[in-house]
Symmetry: C2
Subunit: 199 residues, 2 copies
Amino acid sequence: MPRPLILASGSAIRLQLLTAAGVDAIARPARVDEEAIRQALVAEGAGPRDIADVLAETKARKIAEKEPEALVLGCDQVLEFRKEVFAKPETPDQARDQLRALRGQTHRLLSAVVLYDGAQPIWRHVGTVRLTMRDFSDAYLDAYLARNWPAISASVGGYLLEAEGSRLFSAIEGDYFTTLGLPLLPLLGYLGTRGFIDA
Amino acid sequence: MPRPLILASGSAIRLQLLTAAGVDAIARPARVDEEAIRQALVAEGAGPRDIADVLAETKARKIAEKEPEALVLGCDQVLEFRKEVFAKPETPDQARDQLRALRGQTHRLLSAVVLYDGAQPIWRHVGTVRLTMRDFSDAYLDAYLARNWPAISASVGGYLLEAEGSRLFSAIEGDYFTTLGLPLLPLLGYLGTRGFIDA
């Protein structure tokens, strides 16, 4: 790869996935007010898929404007339930409300990536994971929140699948990488097709 | 959970998945000649699903005989391609042959678990992941083997998905946990139903 990929995200797991795949990547997180953008898009009637895509693009563009020669990747993951997007819970009560709404139901995680080259978007993709929560008890939920707050406040939906969040689910349909927030296989496919990495 | 779960496997990632889910687990790897058992089962005409299940059961039973009061989990993962099971490659040439056979094709990983309680099998499950390799070049394959041998000799199929193995694939259908070799969600579901963990 002639130039490193700049990851416009502070997500340690995304950088780790790219580096493990042998992609020369560096992190340069974009500072954007995600919640304000999300709320403005919702007010305009944007759907969950568009919200994830616009947030990913906004992050990529912000870094691409500072690094116009660079290959820049913006990423975002949103939780969709019944056409609505869930924000990260700010209090244990909000997390409880979200988890009660999702209990026994199926929701989706949408993982969007937008790639910039020469300060222009050249490729975009949204990967999907479908997750079904089991019908856990209120007692379990209270104990879960007591054990896992505030760690889960960093996560949409109030769970971390790689921690005790797995206990909330009965089924997950979607690949390993997209679940972790990066649709890695379509991205690697595109990078290979364009000669940015060996194929 | 009244008793810790004994994991009859030396797999660090399986222990990590259980511990992260809040399951009180300890590792006690069973020493079994997996390759001899696999070959004997193949000679008897056993299919891939049966082979994974028997290997998981053999490991669980071996530890359960020493710990008859314990809850013991045996695990195995096999790679199935066109009804055949692939063994771990012993040389770079074997890995090259396997990867050439899988190139451009879809294969399956079968992740079996068998749970023993009181030295008797009480529950079993086989989870499936479908993986499709892209049509990578011979030049890429040679460079991949040079970079990743001998690490990939520990893996069925000659790839580690959490490392550069991701570059070999175009699509993966199957959940995060089953891909890593442990069908965690059905296991947690069973443990909860039986009261071994909170639900």
